[in-house]
């Protein structure tokens, strides 16, 4: 079986992730701030490592939550008020779109959605055109989870800051694969998932806040410290964290980041080369439409395509059941981009990890060639 669904959840995980998580689960349980037995450093050591990895201004501004979706909800519900104007893009995942649409109905926020190109690029000028005096937030993906196209986020940040708004970057698809410097990139809020290119487990997400971005707490509850206070303690990070943390997930994130720091650079270069070569080969197959410009701009290693005359879900089933290649087909939880791709029923998405090989890519190309040959 060849796994090419890494944009959903990466697999396999590096050996050190498996070892560290297994050790953590087998050891005496450590509940952050609540254990008198020993001080494991969890989760604050990982907070510091995360801050270093993404150049966050302070480790205390790294908040661990169950998912990127949770992180986005926490920030949006904590930050936005009635009458606030928000600009987002047609690329976005439902993890961002749905809370925004709900807030539009419940809290009367005003939402504008910037269009994208036929390969998933949002021109900063199209964001600029939507800015109003009441713009409070520009929220955009770093890389499309459908086409992989990386956006000009520094330009988005400049537009936000020039209009007195915050810039939220959803880096769920890029974190761990593309270098992110939260401060230099001008992000006020950085959100990402742990289980994709960072090689953590499902169930760990992170948001990081700039010093001046102070959303209201989304949840409150037990913190293990300052338990005599009637409400959530006011300082970061615990103002934003309540309840027992997913420590196994945090450990997996730590191990994943350590793996990337040690081996990531070369592996990521190889992954990008493999992606570009595969995209070029896929484009050369007659009857296949590829939704990326692998030679233009920076790309995450997500290869969306369709075979003419075949619905994407049928291609997905064929690849999985007839050729043992696991891809994903459909809308990829990003419903708006497909109008711009002219693929209203979705695409087939093959997404690569550093562990995929030339042989995996060759098997995909051969399978697609085989399918296209069989429908002539």
């Amino acid at each position: 079986m060849i796994y090419l669904n890494n944009a959903a959840t990466s697999w396999p995980k590096p050996e050190e992730v498996l070892v560290q998580v297994n050790r953590h689960i087998c050891d005496l349980p450590v509940t952050p701030y609540r254990s008198a037995l020993h001080n494991s450093g969890l989760p604050d050591d990982v907070r510091k490592q995360t801050a270093d990895f993404f150049h966050v201004h302070s480790a205390d501004s790294v908040i661990f939550v169950p998912s990127a979706t949770f992180a986005l909800n926490a920030v949006l519900y904590g930050l936005l008020n009635a009458g606030d104007h928000i600009i987002t893009t047609a690329l976005e995942h439902n993890s961002l779109l749905r809370p925004l649409k709900t807030l539009e109905r419940e809290k009367n926020i005003i939402l504008d959605i910037a269009p994208c190109s036929s390969t998933g690029f949002v021109h900063p000028g199209d964001i600029q055109k939507l800015v109003k005096n009441s713009t409070r937030l520009i929220a955009a993906s770093h890389a499309s989870n459908v086409t992989g196209r990386v956006q000009e986020i520094q330009a988005f940040a400049r537009i936000a800051h020039n209009s007195g708004a915050y810039f939220l970057c959803d880096a769920s698809q890029s974190a761990g694969s593309i270098f992110i410097d939260m401060q230099n990139d001008g992000m006020d809020i950085l959100v990402f998932a742990g289980h994709k290119n960072l090689f953590g487990l499902q169930g760990i997400g992170v948001y990081c806040l700039s010093e001046n971005c102070r959303p209201r707490p989304f949840i409150s509850g037990g913190t293990g410290i300052k338990s005599d206070l009637p409400e959530q303690p006011p300082e970061r990070p615990i103002i934003y964290e309540a309840g027992t943390q997913n420590t196994a997930g945090i450990v997996s994130l730590q191990a994943g980041m350590e793996f990337l720091k040690r081996k990531g650079q070369n592996l990521l270069l190889s992954k990008n080369t493999l992606f570009k070569e595969t995209a070029a080969k896929m484009k050369s197959i007659p009857g296949v439409t590829v939704y990326c410009e692998q030679d233009t701009g920076l790309h995450e290693t997500v290869l969306s395509f369709n075979i003419e005359k075949l619905p994407c879900d049928q291609t997905g089933i064929m690849l999985e059941r007839s050729f043992d290649i696991i891809v994903r087909s459909g809308l990829h939880c990003a419903p708006l981009i497909h109008k711009y791709l002219n693929a209203p029923r979705g695409t087939v998405r093959a997404s690569f990890s550093v562990f995929n090989t030339e042989s995996d890519a060759a098997a995909l190309i051969n399978a697609v060639q085989n399918i296209t040959d069989s429908i002539k």
């Binding site: 879900d313 049928q314 089933i317 064929m318 059941r321 007839s322 050729f323 459909g330 809308l331 419903p335 979705g346 085989n370 399918i371 069989s374 429908i375």
Partner: protein
Amino acid sequence: MTIIQIKKIEDCFDGSMIYEIIFNSPVTRPLLDYFAGLGALQYYNFTRPFYKITVLGKYELQGILNESQLKIILARDNPLQFLEEFKIKFKNWQ
């Protein structure tokens, strides 16, 4: 040969009516030929052959030859009636 389970499955679109039908033995070539008689067959002769049978206006069957399950995609009008119709057709084959 009997149906041992019918599971509703979802895709990306609201209102889709898709079920997985699991049999107690594989869909062999004679059964596929019988199903093909219900509509139009597309057969892809891969190492593990893929088939799609379209019964126009009613349902579509998709699966792999010699596997014990198939997917039935029902038309939105009267989907459960078409599911029952398929079950009867299958019973008639035996």
